[in-house]
């Protein structure tokens, strides 16, 4: 078996609070290979964003990794120093942020925000090469090169997300973490962004971890699906398997709540009653 | 952000309250606030300093009762008619005509509180009323009032009072207090205005309007209790600026010649050329002004922490 791009092994993360340590992620394990994308679905507070941040090494100051390992191409990220992790960030594993977030710095032009990432990780590159790459990134996400010198507030929500995607791809990472990248966008734009992400992933053979609360979105784009509930990964498998035969009652709830134009709304009361929290 | 201030009761008769709760919600809140305030070390130091100065102010009546030569303004020591250093007889020494510096310092504390608090009260009164009216009435009234506030804020208060004293002669201390207040209200008004703006569209105001309450009633019965904590908070900052402006005026020689303020003391040291030799005279008034400013600032900051619950959690 080839080495997995990303291997998460029995990861548990807790938050230090006044009343002790609150477990946010409980013994989660999964793997992502190149070309595959894992969609992690769950409601707010189920721990999915915590996982996303932990993968980037950006856990909050009061978060504590209690156990488990994160291996990127065999390398144990959890054992790395801050400085080593900083060098890996963006270069090998980058992030597409929530569309609701204020992810771009308002006082810098978007072009500078992208070139900054490139220069930090590939200092040897000539300024000409950097500029060329930035331009091609914009072409890739289909934004006119004339917008390169604009400031973030001059872009619409959808275009901003595309800038963020371009930025995430800037250093040719092997793994991308997408955290609710389409949540605040309207459906048409959402569709565009999703297909853009999907196509890049295939073209560049990237691995992807796609975090969302919306099973419909994940079902659209991901090869694998993981369902999280109260910190545990309660369902994990290929997309089709999970959707057709959900094992866990919570998954069934989620699948059942997927509305299609032809379906009758499902009767959820049974499942809800039997659901264990 | 959720509304941390609960809506004022609309009905006139309060419902039956569970035992142990006070009739007025704000008293309860005050008690809660006090408990938090007590934990804040900055607030404690500030309050301690203020207590010290208050003590000084109260004690300022004592020296001349002990012996008329200790009177800050008219006290004449039969044996001393020039500036001397600290001694048992005069704890901080004497000024250039033999008056006791320590009793002057105490009198200065009294003046500082008087000027500071009355000026702050007046500017809070003004500022709150104008801010509320501007925020509530909106549109033209708001525009006019805020433009007025802008214009006044641009003016350097000290220099304005200076010009006024040029025209109207030596100013009485209460006139000075009023002048200062008239130029310091815009800061309060702005803050109160934005608070009022955010309250204006709250459901409980709408409900009161529907119930037929007059505008005046709404303003004073419903909006005022909610903006008052903010107004009181800003009062501490107004006090410091009032004290400083009065001190600067006195320093330049435009204070009320009948009052002994710390600024006046500094003027005497400076103008009589004792600056370089009489450190016992030069240092105390300046230190007092700085300390009282710091005390009010610290108290204000601590109150700010109490009133803003978001901050409360973070600063620990």
């Amino acid at each position: 078996m080839t080495m997995a791009l990303l291997e998460v092994d029995n990861l548990s993360i807790g938050y230090r609070t006044d009343s002790g340590i609150h477990l946010a992620v409980d013994g989660v394990s999964f793997r992502v290979d190149r070309g595959e994308s894992l969609g992690i679905v769950g409601e707010s507070g189920c721990g999915k964003t915590t996982i996303g941040m932990a993968l980037m090494g950006l856990s909050a100051p009061n978060a504590k990794r209690i156990s488990g390992k994160i291996r990127l191409e065999g390398q144990d990220l959890t054992a790395l120093s801050d400085e080593r992790m900083r060098q890996i960030r963006w270069r090998r594993i980058s992030m597409i942020f929530q569309s609701a977030m204020n992810a771009l710095n308002p006082v810098h032009r978007v072009r500078d925000q992208i070139t900054e990432a490139i220069i930090t990780h590939e200092p040897g590159l000539s300024s000409h090469a950097v500029a060329h790459r930035t331009r091609s990134l914009f072409e890739l996400v289909k934004i006119p090169a004339s917008r390169l010198q604009d400031y973030p507030h001059q872009f619409s929500g959808g275009m901003r997300q595309r800038v963020i995607i371009a930025m995430a791809l800037a250093c040719n990472p092997s793994l991308i973490i997408a955290d609710e990248p389409t949540t605040a966008l309207d459906v048409i734009v959402q569709n565009q962004i999703l297909s853009a992400i999907g196509s890049f992933q295939k073209e560049m053979n990237l691995g992807m971890v796609f975090i969302s609360h919306d099973l419909a979105v994940v079902a659209d784009v991901c090869t694998h699906i993981g369902v999280m509930h109260a910190g545990r990964l309660v369902e994990y498998g290929r997309q089709q398997e999970v959707l057709d035969c959900p094992g866990h009652p919570y998954t069934r709830l989620l699948v059942g709540s997927l509305l299609t134009l032809s379906d009758q709304p499902a009767d959820l009361s049974d499942i809800y009653k039997n659901r264990r929290l | 952000m959720s509304d941390t201030a609960s809506p004022a009761p609309i009905q006139d008769q309060p419902p039956d309250l569970p035992a142990g709760k006070h009739r007025f919600h704000w008293v309860e809140r005050f008690a809660d606030g006090w408990a938090v305030y007590r934990k804040n070390i900055i607030g404690r130091i500030g309050l301690a300093l203020l207590a010290l100065f208050a003590l000084m102010a109260v004690a300022s009546f004592i020296p001349q009762l002990v012996d008329p030569m200790y009177h800050p303004m008219t006290g004449v020591d039969p044996y001393i008619s020039h500036s001397t250093g600290p001694s048992l007889r005069h704890w901080l020494g004497t000024d250039y005509i033999g008056r006791d510096i320590f009793s002057q310092l105490l009198a200065g504390a009294r003046i500082a509180f008087m000027v500071g608090i009355s000026s702050a009260l007046i500017s809070i009164l003004f500022g709150t009323t104008i801010g509320m009216v501007a925020g509530y009435a909106g549109r033209h009234t708001d525009l006019v009032l805020m433009r007025l506030a802008d214009m006044i804020m641009v003016m350097p208060t000290l220099l304005v009072v200076l010009i006024l004293s040029a025209l109207f002669g030596q100013l009485n201390i209460w006139v000075i207090v009023l002048m200062i207040a008239l130029f310091r209200w815009p800061g309060v008004a702005r803050v109160i205005r934005s608070q009022t703006l955010s309250l204006r569209h709250r459901p409980f105001i709408e409900a009161a309007r529907v119930a037929g309450a007059s505008h005046l009633r709404i303003l004073f019965r419903h909006i005022l209790p909610n903006v008052m904590p903010l107004a009181l908070l800003y009062m501490s900052f107004r006090v410091t600026s009032a004290i400083i402006i009065e001190a600067a005026l006195a320093f330049l020689g435009f204070g009320d010649p009948g009052t002994v303020s710390w600024g006046m003391m500094l003027q005497w040291v400076w103008k009589t050329g004792h600056m370089f030799q009489a450190s016992y005279w030069l240092l105390p008034p300046g230190i007092c002004i700085s300390l009282i400013t710091m005390a009010f600032y610290m108290t204000g900051r601590a109150m700010d922490d109490v009133l803003d619950p978001r901050l409360r959690k973070e600063e620990t």
């Binding site: 992810a103 810098h108 990432a117 | 220099l159 600067a248 500094l266 300046g286």
Partner: protein, 325 residues
């Protein structure tokens, strides 16, 4: 580009404010007890000169006409003759104006830069000893009474240690000497400016530091800081290139808001250090009942403050692309 209309609008606003101030001053001068004519014309002038002056200022005409004369005179710079100096007020003030601008501008810029720089570090090292030291230091300096600090400065640095001159802006010997070049003259001014400048900066940087610190703490919670971390930038880069430029914006606003306060301090500083600026002239003229000079000095200071406000607003608009574009 939204900058030009913005500037124009602000200029108009300032002109209106100044106009109101002028008018209020006019009214006050006539409302005050005493003879308004005596206020404008030195009683010790010769009757012929007095008559000439009165005519040029329209003091023998009804109030409304006087007002028009007043406006005209303002526009042409005829603000009367100083009682004390015996010279046209405008000359005296124009002579003093550059000195004030030199001191005032340097003080504001230095204290803002210092406040921003130290506030940035204090926020970054929040809770540590560096932060505590800086915050307490800023608070301490902020509460110092400016005239008192000025006196202490003179006492210590000029009198005690003798490093700096006690008063004034220039050493006459240096300026009279025909061989003295620009550099030595400039150095002399700087030498004299050191103490007043230090006094002003010490009393002002504190509030900027505290504002920068709290602004920085707010900025550090912003999402784009997470992005910067995610991009693998160094801590220093994040602090200086991403957080600080955003955090500095409220400081600029604060500088603008505290300009009135700063000019108070400027006038006090000039008075204590006998720095020949318009602030000092104002204080001096008021204590000597030199009404024409006092009125003109006040108006000139008003112009300076308003212009400074405008410049700060423009600076803010320039620094924040959200306003410019």
């Amino acid at each position: 580009m939204g900058l030009r209309p913005f500037v124009i609008r602000r200029c108009i606003e300032i002109a209106v404010i100044f106009f109101v101030i002028m008018t209020v001053l006019f009214v006050l001068f006539r409302l005050a007890p005493g003879d308004p004519v005596e206020r404008m014309v030195d009683p010790s002038m010769t009757p012929e000169d007095a008559q000439l002056l009165m005519e040029s200022m329209g003091l023998d005409r009804p109030v409304w006409t006087q007002y028009l004369y007043y406006l005209k005179n303002m526009a042409t710079g005829n603000m009367g003759i100083s009682f004390h100096y015996g010279e046209p007020v405008i000359h005296i003030l124009m002579d003093r104006l550059p000195n004030t601008i030199l001191l005032f501008t340097s003080a504001i810029i230095l204290s803002a830069l210092l406040g921003v720089f130290l506030g940035k570090i204090a926020a970054w090292r929040r809770g540590e000893r560096t932060d505590m030291l800086m915050t307490v230091g800023a608070l301490f300096c902020h509460t110092l009474f400016l005239p008192w600090l000025a006196l202490i400065m003179i006492w210590f640095f000029a009198y005690h240690v003798g490093w700096f001159p006690i008063t004034g802006m220039v050493t006459p010997a240096v300026w009279i000497d025909p061989d003295a070049g620009m550099i030595s003259k400039a150095l002399d001014v700087l030498h004299h400016m050191a103490l007043p400048l230090m006094t002003l900066v010490l009393t002002h940087f504190g509030s900027y530091l505290l504002i920068m610190r709290s602004s920085m703490l707010d900025t550090l919670k912003e999402d784009y800081i997470i992005t910067a971390r995610a991009k693998g930038l160094t801590e220093k880069t994040i602090r200086d290139r991403h957080a600080a430029p955003n955090a500095a914006l409220p400081v600029v606003t604060s500088v603008g808001l505290s300009l009135a306060f700063s000019i108070n301090g400027g006038a006090l500083t000039e008075t204590v250090f006998t720095w020949p600026g318009i602030g000092r002239e104002l204080v001096f003229s008021v204590s000597h009942s030199d009404y024409p000079l006092a009125q003109a000095a006040f108006l000139l200071i008003a112009i300076v403050v308003l212009t400074a406000n405008l410049l700060v607003d423009v600076l803010y608009a320039y620094l924040d692309p959200r306003i410019r574009y």
